[in-house]
Symmetry: C2
Subunit: 229 residues, 2 copies
DNA sequence: GCAAAAGTGTTCCCGTTACACCCATGT
DNA sequence: ACATGGGTGTAACGGGAACACTTTTGC
């Protein structure tokens, strides 16, 4: 992304698949590029890695600059480096997925110069993506599918207080299939990592559901025991 | 690993955790470095990636040059890139694990200039490793532990024809625990991916065991069904 | 009173586990 | 004959899957 790139031994970048859940759909955050190559295309947010940052820090700062949020759950999952994946030379990219709470859809400020704007897209209705970003997205989705079966990552997509039905929706969207309500609740509660609150959902025009919290302390105590979905 | 490394935007390399099974122990292949930094230390085999090779090709050629074998099972699993992990500058390394059949222990020819020799070490008795290679190894072992529960990778460590006891040993070594013989056999055979041969083990001073083959065709037909250990 | 989602138990089945003895072979 | 690992079955248990109706609330 610089003149004379080919003279460099190599260049590497980080690209992020940022998942969000808005109550109805599973979404990812895409930026519209404002720079060649792939000007005007939609792409995963990403950046070159600066000299002195660790990879995780670098991914983290992409996330923060884009969303304004800190301490986002994220995980590096693969390196993509086919020669030819970048038209201007050899760029190896390290892919991260991240999961965030979609609150007020508020402040997405692409402070970067290379993006016009950032928009949430439903994963079921993505536009054509720049570079090999489709491949990167596909692998990212596959990874969180596996991950959600063993790790409590669904909570990262939900507000602090959530209903069991919301939680079930997250599982259904990521796994791509319907789950049985009774079995889901029984199993989820059996893990003992949810704390029932004395509080109900508000603003719904039907019976309000009980709110729950994910209890990190209890989860930490289960260390070693695998959750299995 | 070159003068003036710092002037490069970045450098990346590939390091391989090469697992082998010799009938008794789980081993990995280490090289003794013949170059600074970490001259005379033991290290994972690795190399810088050349301009025109894909990452997999590059890993593959490391494996071939070291072992003389082709079509080795391998998988990229993580990128390590802490600034400071390499004393001479920023080097991001892409870690691969590989599984190979330890046959005659024959031809390990470290054709590279930077290694004096290559030796198989038991994973339970490793020397101090150069760079952050211990961390890379640990994560690699963790990955294959997960992987062996869902994918037929144990066969990659065994000769084409093997006994069920040998197969069980591989599982026990990787998972780090004893398994029940009857249950193991029942389950393994129930997957329907092993073909019993009309052939027995030879050269043992006790009752010879039946040999089996892994049947890739049958396995391919199970596509979608997950094996679960 | 109606629409919409919350909330709740039981049964059946199958895969997992635990467990011990005789068999075949080579020395 | 003995030492060594090969090879086999069954019973009890527990988690997963299937399945439908009553309750609460807001409008």
């Amino acid at each position: 992304m610089k003149e004379g790139l080919a003279q460099f031994n190599s260049v590497f970048s980080i690209d992020c698949v940022i998942f969000g859940f808005d109550g109805g759909e599973l979404k990812i955050l895409l930026i519209e590029r404002n720079e060649e190559p792939f000007k005007d295309w939609w792409a995963l947010p990403g950046n070159l890695v600066s000299e002195d940052q660790s990879l995780d820090q670098s991914a983290s700062s992409i996330l923060t600059s884009l969303t304004g949020l800190r301490d986002i759950y994220m995980e590096q999952y693969y390196a993509f480096g086919d020669p030819g994946r970048h038209p201007q030379g050899r760029v190896v990219t390290l892919a991260y997925y991240a999961l965030i709470r979609l609150g007020g859809e508020k402040d997405l400020h692409p402070i970067t110069t290379y993006a016009k704007r950032a928009v949430w897209w439903s994963v079921n209705d993505l536009p054509k993506l720049a570079f090999d970003h489709k491949k990167i997205f596909d692998k990212g989705l596959e990874k969180i599918k596996r991950r959600i079966k063993h790790q409590p990552i669904a909570f990262e997509l939900l507000p602090e207080k959530f209903t069991l039905t919301q939680l079930q929706h997250v599982y259904e969207l990521i796994l791509g299939k319907k789950l049985d309500k009774r079995n889901f609740r029984k199993k989820m509660l059996s893990f003992g990592v949810l704390r029932e609150l004395n509080e109900k959902q508000k603003g719904v025009s039907y019976r309000a559901a009980t709110l729950y919290k994910f209890d990190r302390r209890k989860y930490a105590k289960l260390f070693g025991k695998e959750i299995s979905f």
